[in-house]
């Protein structure tokens, strides 16, 4: 018991600079695991509602409006429905693999969050191989999908699974090349120093694979990697941003579950709880790849404009934004409370919305307390950037038609892969430009 208190105190000490996992602090690591996975489930539920509402408003309709005010309770109603549905296992299916496949997908999608850095100390652990771990574990979900398709013992799921595995494996290559260019960038220290410390005074200036290390490298170099070596970082980001949509099987790359062709792809035969696991895995995988993109290119937990708007005043202003944004959400709720029809039947809905707004407002107010403010700031910026990606996902879905399979492969292998290779070489050359220039001059002198 005494040790437990010590653990808590040791972590609450503001001088702590490592993540609980790296510090070997099992208690806090467990708390973080629960927090992250709880938060993730809430995020998936919220994403479900938001996707329906945003997509609906893009398509001149209202979306869910019946369950709860503005359909806020719709995801919960859906979850209850899915849990109560019969869990059908087709007679000819391979029951064990059919049973275990969704769990594999969910496990792969959730495990990656072990290394996602929500802040310099707000991660479950900081692995030396962070990004490698994320890419590796997220690629494991292919196994689950392939097994689900095969175990269903039916044509459509099988073709869906084959498509999905081919698609994920080929886009992983382009994705990996874009990630590699960022890892090259992390080895740069300030300006004028070469890659891998070749021109550096410190010979140990290696890059890093650690997720926290990557963000810290951006902090030290004073630039988000999307703006590094101006077009190069942006190109890398675009390659990743395209590949990540393909990797998560979302529109316009949602071929494995192309409704109009393969009914529902690899999960055609699934129903109820097991189907909802695939759903959960898809959304958490979207959040996972978005957080990779945010960490690698968009400065992770760092607030925007750290250089242009620096100084303690701006720090304070930016640290107030989380609270303000929650208050704005609350204000939106109250505005809609005022717009609710004044009819006895809407009484409960109005009260519910008002209560929701009150909760949001309360959270916003709590976020103004200095102690809370400093601790949630990182998490807020990280979450806000990820939310931007989530909006993009919905936007793509509302706008784009679907690629055909051969076109998808063409984009992956003939466009993104050569671009990624060129990007990698160019990034390396840019990083070593002083060294290369010196060698070039030597050669010229020799002539």
């Amino acid at each position: 018991m005494h040790e437990l208190i010590d653990y808590i105190q040791s972590y609450l000490d503001p001088r702590v600079t490592t993540t609980p996992g790296a510090a070997g602090n099992i208690f806090w690591a467990t708390v973080y695991i629960l927090l992250v996975f709880g938060g993730l489930s809430v995020a998936v539920i919220a994403m479900n509602w938001l996707e329906r509402k945003i997509l609906a408003h893009m398509q001149v309709r209202l979306g869910p409006m019946r369950v709860g005010p503005h359909g806020l309770l719709q995801p919960i109603a859906d979850a209850i429905k899915l849990l109560l549905k019969e869990d059908i296992i087709p007679a000819e299916a391979d029951a064990f693999i059919f049973w275990i496949a969704p769990f594999m997908v969910v496990l792969a999608a959730f495990t990656v969050f072990v290394v996602v850095p929500f802040g310099p100390t707000h991660a479950i652990t900081d692995m030396n191989i962070g990004i490698l771990f994320m890419l590796g574990v997220s690629s494991l979900s292919v196994l689950g999908i392939v097994m689900a398709g095969w175990a269903s013992n039916s044509h459509y799921p099988l073709i869906g699974a084959l498509r999905s595995s081919a698609q994920m494996v080929s886009y992983e290559v382009a994705m990996g090349l874009a990630v590699l260019s960022v890892i090259l960038l992390t080895s740069l220290q300030g300006s004028g120093l070469g890659l891998y410390g070749i021109g550096a005074t410190n010979p140990q200036a290696y890059g890093t694979l650690s997720m926290i290390g990557i963000v810290q490298a951006q902090q030290e170099q004073g630039v988000w990697f999307i703006f590094k070596f101006f077009p190069l970082g942006l190109v890398g980001f675009f390659i990743f941003a395209i590949a990540m949509v393909a990797e998560t099987n979302r529109a316009p790359f949602d071929l494995p579950e192309a409704e109009s062709e393969l009914t529902a792809g690899f999960h055609t035969e699934y129903s109820g709880f097991r189907w909802s696991l695939f759903f959960l895995a898809e959304y958490s995988a979207m959040i996972a790849v978005s957080s990779i993109a945010v960490t690698l290119w968009l400065g992770g937990w760092l607030r925007p404009f750290p250089n242009a708007l620096s100084g303690p005043t701006w720090d304070l202003v930016f640290s107030l934004i989380p609270g303000i944004s929650f208050l704005l959400l609350a204000a939106m709720c109250f505005y809609n409370v005022a717009r609710m029809p004044k009819h006895p039947l809407f009484k409960i809905q109005t009260m519910g919305l008002a209560g929701f707004g009150a909760v949001l407002g309360l959270i916003g107010l709590v976020m103004f307390i200095p102690a809370v403010r400093d601790r949630v700031n990182d998490v807020f910026w990280f979450a806000a950037k990820v939310a931007g990606f989530m909006y993009l996902y919905i936007w793509y879905r509302g706008t784009f038609p679907r690629y055909r399979f051969d076109q998808l492969m063409k984009v992956g292998w003939k466009i993104l892969l050569p671009m990624g290779l060129a990007l990698l070489i160019l990034t390396a050359a840019m990083g070593m430009r002083t060294e290369l220039w010196a060698q070039f001059q030597e050669v010229v002198h020799g002539l």
Partner: protein, 387 residues
């Protein structure tokens, strides 16, 4: 030119045999697309023979929606049969009704009065737009763009409102009578139609904005489901599908009926005969329909709406064929009369049914995903295919 007889699809027996083998070593994976499939627009069943994802051939199995409309006609009087034709191409019920009424009028040798003709043209062209809107929404949905569907349905609603106000029905309108119209237009009909034209013009640009220059849409539709003009004629394909292959054939111009010869409009044609050209042709037809409606609304004459037609229609012995340009192609009625109150035989030439024949030619060598696109671009309605 392709000989239509050489295009016959492989027989069913080969499919059954092919099913035993695995699909790696040979060209045979047989997939049943439909009759319950989200992309076959109803209960069309397509048996696909695949090599991987490449279509080696396909066979359409139809008849799941067969209601024996032509047989029913033999036991109904001419007037009684009029509502039945609405149930064939239920998204273009007005055109079906127009074709039937005009055919019977031709048989009776009467002509609808000018005011009726104008109202007929307005409603038919409105219906053509509604049909094209439904086609565009579902076609884009099949290719994966889910948003246009909602835009087109929003605007189609306005057309249906006009129909509802005019004749009380939205889908199966039964708008016309043999010899003219049953109802005089309602108060403010012209104003509402004009308002609709003003409303829908920018909306068409909106659809085009979403799709016409969209890279993915171009890649999905260009060069997909190509059919040459010669092949199309050989297979009897009509309508926008034929025009997209570069054949300038529109019955409204070629064999003018109603009073289409009084209106000034163009026949949009394509060159390549691919899915994209068919899309472009139909989008252009939207605008041409608007032109026709504008001219018609401005010039509606006053006068009677019914010609002198006896209460009990007893046409003379004889036979007649008359066809109109329905939204999907040439819709023809062949009626044989034995002089009684009931037709001896009615045969309908449904454009969807004939166009569907081209599916095999258009899909060979393409990919599975293209079959979906081609089914969508043919704009078939199974109610009309199966009758």
């Amino acid at each position: 030119m392709t000989d239509p007889t050489s295009l016959s699809p492989p027989s069913l027996e080969t499919h059954v045999e092919a099913h035993e083998k695995t699909f790696l070593d040979a060209n045979e994976l047989v997939i049943n697309m439909g009759p319950q499939h989200p992309a076959t627009h109803g209960v069309l069943r397509v048996i696909l023979r695949l090599d991987g994802e490449k279509v080696m051939g396909l066979e359409c199995v139809i008849g799941y929606l067969h209601r024996g409309v032509e047989k029913i006609a033999e036991h109904r009087t001419y007037t009684m049969f009029n509502p039945y034709v609405d149930r064939m191409d239920y998204v273009a019920a007005v055109s079906n009704g127009l074709g039937y009424c005009e055919t019977v009028e031709k048989l009776l040798n009467v002509e609808a009065p000018p005011r009726a003709q104008y109202v007929r043209v307005i409603l038919t062209e409105l219906n053509r737009m509604a049909s094209h809107q439904l086609w565009l929404g579902t076609h884009a949905l099949d290719i994966g763009a889910i948003t246009p569907l909602f835009y087109t349905f929003r605007d189609r609603e306005e057309i249906l409102k006009i129909f509802e106000k005019y004749c009380g029905a939205r889908l199966t309108t039964h708008a016309f009578r043999i010899g003219g119209l049953q109802y005089e237009t309602y108060e403010g009909f012209e104003k509402e139609v004009k308002a609709f034209i003003k409303f829908v013009r920018p909306k068409i640009d909106e659809y085009e904005e979403l799709l016409t220059t969209n890279r993915i849409w171009l890649e999905r539709t260009k060069g997909v489901g190509v059919i040459s003009g010669k092949d199309a004629i050989a297979l009897g394909v009509t309508g926008p599908v034929l025009r997209a292959s570069g054949v300038k054939w529109d019955i409204r111009k070629a064999l003018p009926y109603a009073n289409y010869k009084n209106f000034d409009f163009d026949i949009p044609t394509g060159q390549n005969g691919d899915t994209y050209d068919r899309y472009i042709v139909r989008m252009a037809e939207f605008r041409q329909s608007l032109r026709i409606i504008e001219q018609a609304v401005d010039n509606i004459p006053e006068g009677p709406i019914m010609a002198k037609v006896p209460k009990v229609i007893k046409p003379p012995v004889g036979e007649v064929y008359h066809s109109i340009e329905a939204p999907k192609g040439e819709l023809g009625y062949f009626i044989v009369s034995d002089g009684s109150t009931q037709p001896y035989r009615i045969r309908v030439r449904p454009p969807s049914f004939v166009n569907l024949q081209a599916l095999d030619v258009m899909c060979r060598g393409q990919l599975v995903a293209d079959v979906i696109a081609v089914i969508g671009t043919l704009d078939i309605v199974l109610g009309e295919v199966d009758r």
